[in-house]
Structure formats: C-alpha cells, structure tokens
Symmetry: C2
Subunit: 302 residues, 2 copies
Amino acid sequence: MSLTLKQLRYFVAAANQASVSKAAQALSISQSAVTEAIKELESYLGVQLFIRQPRGMTITPEGQQFLRHAISILAEVANATRVASAGAHRVTGRLNLGVTSLTAGYVLSDVLSRYRRLNPDVDVTAVEDTAEYLEHLIIGGELDVAVMVTSNLRNAQALQSEILEVSSFRLWLPIDHPLNRQQSIALSDVADEQLIVLDVDEMEQEAVKLLSAFGKRPRIAFRTRSVEAVRSLVATGAGVALLPDLVYRPWSLEGDRIHSRDVSGTLPVVQVGLIWRRGSAISDAAREFVAVAQAQHEVKQR
Amino acid sequence: MSLTLKQLRYFVAAANQASVSKAAQALSISQSAVTEAIKELESYLGVQLFIRQPRGMTITPEGQQFLRHAISILAEVANATRVASAGAHRVTGRLNLGVTSLTAGYVLSDVLSRYRRLNPDVDVTAVEDTAEYLEHLIIGGELDVAVMVTSNLRNAQALQSEILEVSSFRLWLPIDHPLNRQQSIALSDVADEQLIVLDVDEMEQEAVKLLSAFGKRPRIAFRTRSVEAVRSLVATGAGVALLPDLVYRPWSLEGDRIHSRDVSGTLPVVQVGLIWRRGSAISDAAREFVAVAQAQHEVKQR
DNA sequence: GGTCGGTATCGGTTTTTCCGAACGAAAACC
DNA sequence: GGTTTTCGTTCGGAAAAACCGATACCGACC
C-alpha cells in the first residue's frame, strides 16, 4: 500500500485528541478503523508515531515532526480544492499585514508562506507591533488584516474577527521538578514557585493576574521578551512558566526537555485570530488571506 | 467521496501525457481506472480539467492551475515520507546556491520555497549569474549547488550533475499565425519567419544554430532577456520563438493566447539540472537540497 | 465509408475499508 | 487486593471502492 490522505486525516485527529477513541468519535467512525489506519501508516513510514499508553497515547518526536507535514499537506489539499472550485482568477494587489511578536513566529509564518506561494502576484508587507497599536492601524485603514491575540480586543465594535486557534494556559516545568511527581497540580502550588514571565502580548499580566488571586505577590525570577529564552530558563531549572499551549515545544534550543502540565481548575484561554476593519469592503487579497488561514485552521482541528 | 492522492497521481500522469491511455500505460493500470478517477476528481471539484478531443485530451486553464497544486501536494507527500523514514535530525548550516536567470524563475523558486520550509535552520543564499561563471564558483568551492542548463557543461569532469528536467525546443506562435493551419511544421518554415530570441542561458545560440542549417541567416526581429517580453511579442504577432517547453505558458501577461507546436524532425533538448563539485564531500544542507529537488522532479514525471 | 486512435460506459471481480464484538492490559476505584 | 473502567488492539464478516476487460462510441484520417 501507499500513503493515503485518509490516513493523514485520521493521524492528525488522533494526534490532536491524544487518543484513538476520541479521534474516532470526532470523525464519526469506529475506533478500529483509526487504529488500523495509523498502524498502516506507521509500518509504511517505518517509524513509530505514538507511544501507546494505558490511558491514551502520546505522540513521539518523530510523530510530532510528521504531524507538521501532515497538517501542511492537508492544508495544501484544502486550498487546492478551494481555489479550483472557486474559479481561477489570479489575485493581485497589495496586502498589508500586522502581527504581534508572539504570533509572528507561531502562527503567521506557516500561513504566510503558503499564501505567498498561492498568490505570487500579491505584494505582501508585514509590520510587527503591539496588539493595541495594530488595532489602531487596522481602524485607520493602514493595515488590511492583523494576526494577534483576540481574547481582549479594545475596539471590538469597530473590528471583525475570526478565531484561528484557541490555546489554554499550561504550566511549563523542567523535567526533574518536584511538582512533576504530583498527580495534579493546583494553582496554589505554582504561586510558591519562581516564575519566568514572557513580556509580550500581555502574557505577563495574564500570568500574574492568575497567581495574584492567592494574596501573595508572585515571585518573578526573570522577565524576557523571548520565548526561546523562557524555554531555556525553564529547562535549566531557573523557574516555571505559565504560557499558552500554542507556543509549547518539548525541547529547548539546547535540547533539554521541558514538560507541560495541566493545572487543576480551569485556566483561561487565549484566542489567536485575525482581525480586520468592520464595515469597509475587504480586498480580494485580504479575503484570500483569511481563507488560507481558515483552511489551515480547519485542518488542524480535526 | 473525497479527494484522494491516487486521483492526483492519475491526474498528473494524464496531464503529462495529454492522454488517458498513455497515462494508464505509464502507471501499469487499466485505462478505465484512470478515466474514472479523473471523472470523479472533476465532479468533486466541480471543474472541468480536460477538454476531451478525438485525438487525446488537452488540459483546461483550470486544469493547469490545479495541476500545479497537485504536483505541489505530491511533492510535499514525497518529502514527508522521505524525512520521516530517514530519521528526524534537523539539518543546520549554510547553503550557497547558484542559478541562471532562466532557472531562477522556472525551476528554483518551487524547490527553494519547499526547501526553506523543510529546513528552516539552514541559511540559504543564492546568486544569479551566467552558467559559465557558476561552474567556476562551484569548482572554486564558493557555491555548494547550482541550478542550470546542464546540456553543455564546460567542466563536466570536475562536476557531478543530476538531471531535473528535460525539455525540448518547441515553436511559439500567436494564435492566428498562418503556420498554425499547417498540420506539421518543418524547420525550414521557421527559417523564413521573424524571430524573437531570448538572450539568456545560450538560448539564442541554440535557436540560431538550428536555423542557420538552412543557409540563410535567421531574421531576428527582437532580442530580449525577458521571457515575459518574448511571450508578449509572440502573442501580439511580432514574430515567433524557439524555446524549451519548460518556460512555455499558454498566455502572455496581457492575457493573449500563445500556441506551442512541435516542429517535425527532432529538435534538440535542454537538460536542466543540479551540479556540484565532484569528489569533495557534500554538506548535509546540500544533500537535502538535492533530495528535495529530486522528489519534486519524480512527482512531475509520473 | 472504413479504419484508427482515442475516451466513456458497464458488469463482474478483487482489494480495501469499515464495523462490531471480543480481547488484553494498565490504571482507578472501592 | 480484587473489581471496574478505560483504552488500544485484533479478528471475522460485511460493505464499499477500485480495478479490469470488453464493448460502445466518436471524430479524424485515409
């Protein structure tokens, strides 16, 4: 046999849900079908994609890497059908994008590279700034679309938005941290820890607000604007961090492992999405951008 | 039903061969299977991909556009399996590429965008120059790999090469040109025409050499370094052109139609490929580049 | 008008996919 | 410490799909 799109879809679903049965449910299909598709995929690639555990599955590093490819392929397929079905006029013109420093690396890069390949005749420019200023530029008509955290927009009534990704806060720990031995971690446990905070996109306020509920002032060990720095600091034991799952990666640049754990109780979520000006007609180039981003988003959700 | 990789493979084959039955033969499969797969694909997309003619099929503009997507998807799939099967180490380092002005737009751009996405940690630089000078830079170790016409290398013994694409010369005509009414066109017919020549990568010498065989000196109406200009000039009736099929597109920038016709007798072919220095160890980053380019090439061939 | 080169259609067969039930294994629960 | 719960896997049979070969069909070419 050879590789099948169906296998990729099932694989992505299973990876998202970290469970064969949940994936099967989401796909409205039987568990055994998913199991067999993934098994087939693994034997075809000659790589183990998941580690089966009694309580679900966790993806292997190789699986993680293949997952990126699988999502990319499915997104490409979605775009191909969309473009073909819509009719074949080439979009030209100019597109002015805005990003925040957080979304630039973790959301925009994928979408943008695909967009440029699909619409080579569009002149794309992107500026990076704070969420607040991006809103200002959108409303002023200087930007067409911005990619940013949309959970707390300041001028919601003047803006239209589309959620691309919902990501909940989780706790990052070095692999040998004492809290790792607890089955469940409460927010109050975290309040006693040294904290590494990320000083972009209001991530700091969010984390501090969470912890301040316990009366004590959070102990901030380090404040940085670089996610990579947070990872390195957490990995080497300088402290723990509360950040959206979106930016989590299991390894730091130096190769040290990082764990990400749920905190009991409901932690807030951040919504990352697109915004554009409400009311005014949106350009073809901008509409295409929204569509490309949505296609990628939908594929990931499965 | 939903879209299938198998459908894409069959479609690409049929598009390449401009024939269902030839494609079936190439795929070692029955003709009806290919017919049905393509029909299914068309009804799924809601777009007609081919115009059926008594003497084979020609691809529609929508089909042409979808073909690019299909090839891109298949190439992505090939790379995903290759990377997964090979094991998951990220390639880093630097890659110095060389291109000629012809290969930059028509060959490199696709491969390079895919390469950058697959290997974000590699620092890529590219220089554009003449084939002769690129060879010099390769031998001197200043470039790792070059993408160029490899039909007539000057220093073949010092270089290793890998063919990516073989493209034969064809005649470009405006749609209403008298020669279009002839069933077959001889080279001697062309010798009387006004010629538009492309002044890059020795395309001019090649075309002139072909026509000089008839004693007369070819009538060169225009000499330009831009393929787009050639297309526009041909479309508006300023002359005809002899160029490799690789750079043919059915429309000029202005939207005017151009025909491409075989010339009876065997016209020479140009080989476009990669070259690198023979003997010296090739870097990981360069090997990856060769592999990505090959994957794309193989997909197209089907 | 017949042949030739090609595509579309159709019944029958093979292969693939899917389901549901049974199985097994580790964690959670009492 | 045993039982229950929750998963993932395995397996036989059923449903669906892909494939094949033969045949019908259609326009160009002679």
